[in-house]
């Protein structure tokens, strides 16, 4: 112990060697624990062919909120995880992750879908709109304004999904009565129970006739 304390260089060399050994032995496991973007980078740079072999990625071209992305992703990546984890668009929420709550609703090629049940690898050349893509500069989308005005949320977690779904509900022509809105919004669950005010907001936007 005493000799080590008086000879710090030696300790340093030993440490360095053992670390290198450790990295060498556990390369694959370390790689598996990496987040997907770093893994993609690793695979592109051929840092470790084992990584690419074990976790094969596929190329994906996708447009999100008007911005084009060329990515390499694992086939099992859902559109929701791609948006949140790789593109850092965390406005789209992960509620149940099993298609039961609607919090992950986004528009793909103009149609509302559940991003948690969509494989990103099947969205080649798709145009995706998320809650982040609605406002024009600092000007909020009419549905966002209506949600604020009508107090259409409490905790706010389901709100991005509710807003994406509400816009689609009107565009589809399914907002002609409160009953019809409730039926066609039934895929968006709100645990705070703000349903009445959500229907108010959608009704107001529908009747306001603004371009959505």
């Amino acid at each position: 112990m005493a000799s080590k304390k008086t000879n710090p260089n030696k300790v340093s060399v030993e440490d360095s060697n053992s670390r290198r050994d450790f990295i060498k032995k556990s390369g694959l496991f370390t790689a598996l624990a990496l987040t997907p973007p770093s893994l993609v980078m690793a695979s592109e740079n051929k840092w470790d062919e084992k990584i690419a072999e074990y976790l094969e990625t596929v190329p994906l071209s996708i447009e999100v909120n008007g911005k084009k992305h060329n990515l390499n992703i694992e086939p099992r990546t859902t559109l929701l995880d791609l948006l949140r984890e790789q593109l850092q668009l965390t406005g789209t929420k992960k509620g149940c992750d099993h298609g039961q709550c609607g919090a992950c609703t986004v528009h793909v090629n103009g149609t509302r879908i559940l991003s948690c049940l969509s494989l990103a690898s099947m969205q080649q050349n798709a145009q995706v709109t998320t809650i982040e893509g609605l406002s024009k500069g600092k000007k909020l989308h009419p549905m966002q304004e209506a949600f604020i005005k009508n107090d259409s949320f409490q905790c706010g977690y389901c709100t991005p999904g509710q807003i994406m779904s509400g816009i689609a509900c009107i565009k589809e022509g399914h907002a002609n009565s409160r009953e019809e809105i409730r039926e066609y919004m039934s895929g968006n669950i709100c645990r705070c129970g703000a349903y009445h005010n959500i229907v108010d907001a959608i009704t107001e936007v529908k009747e306001g006739g603004k371009e959505i």
Binding site: T111, L119, M122, S165, E172
Partner: protein, 326 residues
């Protein structure tokens, strides 16, 4: 979710030939059920064949029938003006299923192939003969409120969850498939099967066969039809019991009738005896009740779902009454 390979097929033939070579390969279209099952590790394919680029999305009105491509979306069919006019029962059943987001994703073929929502099937810690053959059935003697009252076996009391399929069974549809051995046609009522000793098989598709379309023969069921769905909340829930009714009436006399139930069996449950009883009779509440009693003969509960015996009879009477009054 286990990682997998994915390839995109550009024709039905290439889809079938691609999948033929792989043991643990599956087709994927809407993915609304399959992706969920993969997340839960209920199924874990090594390879997916993406069939969404195939040209199987059209709804075509041909001589004597309508042909609906297997990749037509549930919302596309539910909102098609001609389907609403000529096959309103199908449009109603589709609109009663899932949510609009899921209907935009889910295809007709995928709707047919969706797995049961039995919670024991989904929970990989529990026994389930459908998921792991010979492992036992957790639902028999377990929590079985959603389960079958008709045609179940000692191996499985799960139900098929589709609404669309109940209407298609009632409307005498046919299923067109393509597989390694070529093309063939299956009667819709023969497509899904009862569990017996092999509940792992939901239907009569052969290995690696692909559904390409369904066909519905023309009929006169354009007015007095109703799809009644009884569920725990008013929308976006699976049926406890559902009833599809199609009546062809002439001066209150029943020329022709179709009756089928959902949420009660391992397959859409066609009520042919009740249909035969109703044919030629004049509509009345008494006749409808007799038909319902006839339809419920042979039904049995498993404890939590005993209420379905009364609910089923009431739902049939109610659906017939609503359809007749349209």
């Amino acid at each position: 979710m286990k990682n997998f390979q994915i390839i995109r097929a550009l024709s039905a033939a290439s889809a079938v030939s691609n999948i033929k070579k792989e043991k643990e390969a599956m087709f994927i279209a809407g993915g609304t059920n399959l992706v969920d099952l993969m997340k839960k590790n209920v199924v874990a394919p090594d390879k997916l064949v993406d069939i969404t680029a195939l040209d199987l999305k059209q709804i075509e009105f041909l001589k004597g029938k309508v042909s609906i491509g297997a990749l037509a979306k549930n919302s596309q069919v539910a909102e098609d003006a001609s389907i609403k006019e000529k096959h309103p029962l199908l449009a109603q059943a589709l609109a009663a299923g899932a949510s609009q987001q899921i209907r935009h994703m889910a295809t007709v073929g995928g709707n047919m192939l969706q797995r049961t929502r039995c919670s024991y099937f989904y929970n990989t810690d529990m026994p389930c003969n459908k998921r792991v053959p010979k492992s036992g059935c957790g639902a028999i003697g377990g929590v079985n409120r959603m389960h079958a009252i008709f045609g179940a076996s000692e191996s499985c009391i799960a139900v098929h969850p589709s609404d669309m399929c109940v209407a298609l069974a009632a409307l005498d549809a046919n299923v067109l498939v393509e597989g390694p051995k070529g093309k063939r046609q299956i009667k819709f009522t023969d497509f899904h099967r009862l569990p017996g000793n092999t509940p792992e098989k939901d239907n009569t598709l052969e290995d690696k066969e692909l559904i390409t379309s369904i066909e519905i023969p023309d009929n006169n069921f354009t007015k007095n039809v109703h799809y009644l769905k009884v569920r725990d909340r008013s929308s976006y829930a699976f049926a406890l019991v559902s009833v599809a009714v199609a009546l062809d009436l002439k001066n209150d006399k029943i020329n022709d009738v179709r009756l089928a139930m959902g949420g009660v069996a391992h397959k859409p449950w066609r009520l042919t005896e009740a249909e035969e009883f109703l044919k030629g009779k004049t509509i009345s509440e008494g006749i409808f009740k007799q038909a319902a009693d006839l339809a419920m003969r042979g039904a049995r509960g498993y404890g939590d779902n005993d209420f379905k015996l009364t609910l089923g009879a009431n739902a049939i009477t109610e659906a017939l009454t609503i359809a007749a009054s349209k």
